[in-house]
């Protein structure tokens, strides 16, 4: 049986914005990989469906940068899963990237409205 959710258009996701979204989802608590992609889909109203091929490289990249740490734990239904959590550095990074994004967004919006 097919899913009844409408399939929104897959929008190209720049690596930077993916990082930002992952930081956002993890800012409220720790999640495992599937949890992250579900949450991203949720908070973007289904606009961004992150495939594992993009998600996992991003998660590992961010872990290497020291913004996330990971540890194995039990999931909701007692299955083993790898949980990711923001580090202090990650929180700082989240703040920085959010500010950058808002500044960029403001500038572009203003540019588009200019005559």
């Amino acid at each position: 049986m097919k899913s009844t959710h409408p399939q929104p258009k897959q929008t190209d996701l720049l690596q930077g914005t993916l990082h930002l979204l992952i930081l956002k989802t993890l800012s409220t608590g720790e999640l495992h990989g599937l949890g992250v992609s579900n949450r991203i889909a949720q908070i973007t109203q289904g606009v961004f469906q992150v495939k594992p091929g993009s998600l996992f490289p991003a998660l590992h990249r961010m872990e290497e940068a020291g913004w996330l740490t990971s540890e194995w734990g039990a999931s909701e239904n007692n299955r083993r899963a790898k949980y990711y959590k923001l580090t202090k550095a990650g929180q700082r990074q989240f703040k920085t990237e959010t500010e950058d994004w808002q500044r960029i967004a403001l500038a572009i919006t203003g540019a588009l409205q200019a005559t």
Partner: protein
């Protein structure tokens, strides 16, 4: 991304690889399970849920690969993979690998060898303090600019130190060491007290000279060289403070210098002067400081920081002019500065650059060969590469793989080449010990290692890039369709192969012609008439210094006795005594006043002066042209006489009879000497120099403490020596023979550098020829193998074996002819630079060019013959059938 976490991750990635892989695997499995469960909860059947989950995952391996790719240090891992793969591939083709490595070893090794020499001689500074400030002062007299200085000049130059912080002088001397151990003769010098301060090298043990040692009444002290300390004292720490008897004087040892400290490797000992200025002779009784006529001092200076050579030269010129005004008989004496390193390098610089040029050409030929080999191999691997491209390998990745292979080959070749060069150079320098002045310093060091590495890497990139580029072209379908059997790779690749061969032949010809010109020069040089008969001459030195020979009478008497006894020895036919040996250089020069000609000092002729015994010319085999030779009657109670050589007679008295003319050396109060004979020209200063004027005085009238002895005998030197030694010992047990050698060995020494250069060049020429020939053969053989199909068709259509043979041969020889043509033009350009090294041969010598071009053509013909002959053995049926 912050640095520290990056490094930590890099570390983790490299070391904990297996664990990470496993974790990733588990993580993805976990993801899959969770997703499946999620889908099941959404309402799908377990099977469908699992399938949907798998679809969404998009392929576990792909995801894993994508994660791996983003990992830090990923490229490093893949590089390591490439290296391991390359090693495997190369091992599978040992033939290619071996040939490539050997070829590269020859190319890189020769470069390393020459660079080692360049490094030691040209690049490394001398091991004195701030060597770039050190200068050498040649004395200039009219018509001769490599003279020594007199004490008056030294003191004058030293007293006005505007440009110099220090100016030191020394007198090379031969010392007889007697006393505790065996009597020994060593070369050394008497040096002014500031000698060691000027050079700025601290002593190894004890102390070196201080200014107190230069005071007029200072006791005589000695500083030992490291080698002498080891050889005579066994490195004994208590040697400092002991007393040595040197030339019958008791001298205290005050210190030892470090190893390899010396301007001249033969200097083993340094003594301080007795009057501040180095003595002319150790037992000289007069006041040395007033000596004006004796030019025996060598001068060294250290420039003040910031002062240039030109500024110092200007100051010295002004000083010399002032001196001339003060002493009108200074006869235009001045000084000429050269930097000390220039002195050491001499004319080796040009020779070395020439050799360097040759090895670069050899390297290019080697690269050409390996490029051709790589091209052939890349063609064979096209299928493999294309398939890899088809399943997703990027071009960069493929190219990198091929580059890693070529770099591995190049580094291996570099390593073998390095070893070859170290052994080869050591062996070669041992054969020619006198050829290069700084030879003991030629050792591999960091710079040479870096150079070798750079050459290897550069070579690897050079011959790997082009074939790699061509092989990884994205021509998928065409390549996959084409049968590898008769794929020549298209016109572009064939043209590349052919151009490489043409270039190699041309380069080989350039090296061959250069070597040929040098060989002919050397042959011409050794064929020069030296003006005496060099065969069967046993030679040695004696130094009649020391108290026993203090008076002229003692000196003369000794030599008279010696001559009588030596002549009585069986096998000895004649004896020649002088103050220097021919070919090795004239010891003393002076400018003459000629009776009847009032010449200003600056215009006077500067001639070589030699003191000889009466039988000298007869013994040396030099012709007497006019007049008479000296005899026993020409002694101190007879009027002074001289003999002149032909060059001098022609110079001074071109249309007159020189006999009876009078000339004068020295101060105006000296008596005139009459010319009594004219002899043929002797090459006193070297075979390659033109004849210059020389003048001879009888030993009985001008006794000299440093005597060269040449015995003409029917016996070999080795056979004669024992008897000669015994004879001398009988007369004076403390007088050793210095440097007993056959005359031919002495002449050989002057030719040593040239001979070494020649040997090296010829070696490189042979290597170049070998490599080019092998390359030609390889390309021809490959081409024939690839064209089996085509040749089969030709034969089937009626071509005879002869036609096929001619076809292949003609194609091969066309390339060779083209190469030779280009080579001749290039060689002519290059030989222009060679001109300074040539003797008796013009740079455009047609004989050399023609002979070597013919040789190359012949060898190339042989190289083409075999593949051409093989082509005729192609069986058309087999050729047509194979696909």
């Amino acid at each position: 991304m912050p640095l520290l976490p990056r490094l930590a991750s890099l570390w983790r990635n490299l070391l904990r690889r297996p664990q990470q892989e496993q974790e990733l695997n588990e993580e993805l499995d976990a993801y899959l399970e969770l997703l499946t469960e999620q889908k099941r909860n959404a309402g799908l059947m377990p099977e469908a849920a699992r399938r949907a989950a798998l679809l969404e995952l998009g392929g576990k391996e792909q995801v894993k690969e994508q994660v791996r790719e983003t990992r830090i240090g990923y490229w490093l891992e893949t590089l390591w993979q490439d290296v391991r793969f390359a090693v495997r591939v190369l091992r599978k083709q040992p033939g290619f690998t071996l040939i490539a490595i050997l070829t590269l070893a020859l190319g890189i090794g020769t470069n390393t060898a020459i660079f080692s020499v360049v490094n030691a001689v040209l690049l490394r500074p001398l091991n004195f303090k701030e060597p770039e400030q050190l200068v050498w002062l040649w004395g200039t007299v009219p018509k001769f600019s490599q003279a020594n200085h007199s004490p008056v000049e030294f003191l004058a130059f030293q007293s006005q130190p505007q440009s110099f912080t220090e100016l030191a002088a020394y007198r090379p001397m031969s010392f007889t060491l007697t006393g505790d151990a065996q009597p020994e003769q060593v070369q050394g010098m008497i040096a002014s007290a500031n000698y060691f301060t000027l050079l700025g090298v601290p002593p190894w043990r004890g102390r070196s000279f201080q200014s107190a040692d230069g005071q007029p009444a200072a006791p005589r002290v000695a500083v030992l060289g490291y080698d002498l300390w080891q050889s005579r004292f066994g490195g004994d720490e208590r040697a400092v403070g002991r007393t040595l008897t040197i030339n019958d004087e008791a001298v205290a040892i005050i210190g030892v210098m470090p190893p390899q400290f010396s301007l001249n490797p033969v200097t083993k000992l340094w003594l301080n002067p007795r009057q501040g200025v180095p003595d002319f002779l150790m037992n000289f009784r007069g006041d040395v400081r007033t000596l004006r006529e004796q030019h025996y001092l060598r001068l060294l200076g250290r420039l003040k920081p910031g002062v240039s050579l030109i500024q110092a030269q200007d100051e010295l010129d002004a000083l010399a002019a002032r001196l001339e005004q003060q002493h009108t008989d200074q006869r235009g004496h001045g000084a000429r500065l050269v930097s000390l390193s220039e002195l050491f390098i001499g004319d080796l610089r040009q020779t070395l650059w020439l050799l360097f040029g040759a090895v670069i050409l050899v390297l290019l030929i080697a690269c050409g060969n390996v490029t051709n080999l790589s091209l052939a191999r890349a063609m064979a691997r096209t299928r493999e590469l294309t398939i890899r491209a088809a399943v997703g390998a990027s071009r960069f990745r493929l190219l990198r793989q091929l580059l890693v292979e070529s770099l591995l080959l190049a580094l291996a070749g570099g390593l073998v080449g390095w070893l070859l060069s170290v052994w080869g150079l050591n062996w070669l320098l041992a054969q020619y010990p006198d050829a290069i002045l700084r030879a003991p310093e030629i050792k591999p060091d960091v710079r040479v290692l870096l150079f070798t590495l750079a050459v290897a890497v550069g070579t690897g990139v050079l011959f790997g890039l082009l074939p790699g580029w061509l092989a990884t072209r994205r021509d998928l379908t065409g390549v996959l369709k084409e049968s590898p059997r008769h794929a020549t790779g298209g016109a572009a690749r064939t043209r590349l192969r052919q151009s490489l061969i043409v270039a190699e032949v041309a380069l080989a010809l350039v090296v061959l012609v250069s070597a040929g010109l040098l060989v002919r020069s050397f042959a011409r040089l050794t064929a020069v008439e030296p003006g005496f008969d060099a065969a069967n001459l046993t030679t040695f030195w004696l130094t009649l210094t020391g108290a026993r020979y203090g008076t002229e009478t003692a000196n003369v008497r000794f030599l008279k006795d010696l001559t009588a006894r030596l002549e009585a020895l069986p096998g000895v036919q004649a004896i020649a005594l002088s103050n220097d040996f021919p070919i090795q250089g004239t010891d003393t020069h002076d400018s003459l006043a000629i009776e009847g000609r009032n010449l200003a000092p600056a215009e006077r002729l500067n001639v070589g002066l030699h003191v000889i015994n009466p039988r000298y010319f007869a013994a040396m085999g030099t012709r007497l042209l006019q007049g008479r030779a000296f005899d026993e009657r020409d002694n101190t109670s007879a009027p002074p006489v001289v003999m002149v050589n032909e060059a001098m007679a022609q110079r001074l008295w071109p249309n007159e009879n020189p006999l009876g003319k009078r000339l004068r050396f020295g101060a105006p109060d000296q008596p005139w000497s009459e010319v009594v004979g004219v002899v043929a020209n002797l090459k006193h200063d070297g075979l390659q120099l033109a004849d210059s004027p020389h003048c001879y005085a009888p030993h009985l009238q001008q006794p000299w403490p440093f005597i060269t002895v040449a015995l003409r005998s029917s016996l070999e030197t080795s056979a004669l020596l024992a008897a000669v030694r015994q004879t001398v010992q009988q007369l004076d047990p403390k007088l050793p023979l210095i440097e007993p050698l056959p005359m031919t060995a002495r002449m050989e020494r002057t030719l040593a550098t040239r001979r070494l250069t020649l040997t090296l060049y010829s070696l490189f020429a042979v290597i170049a020829l070998l490599l080019a020939t092998i390359g030609l053969y390889g390309v021809m053989a490959y081409s024939v193998a690839q064209r089996t199909h085509e040749l089969g068709i030709r034969v089937a259509l009626g071509a005879t074996a002869r036609d096929v043979f001619r076809l292949i041969l003609r194609q091969g020889m066309t390339l060779v002819a083209l190469g030779i043509a280009v080579g001749i033009i290039s060689a002519r350009l290059v030989s222009g630079w060679l001109a300074a090294q040539l003797f008796g041969v013009t740079p455009a010598d047609p004989l050399t060019f023609a002979a070597l071009a013919a040789l190359l053509a012949l060898v190339a013909l042989v190289a083409c013959w075999i593949p051409a002959w093989r082509a005729t053995t192609v069986d058309p049926m087999i050729a047509l059938r194979c696909e």
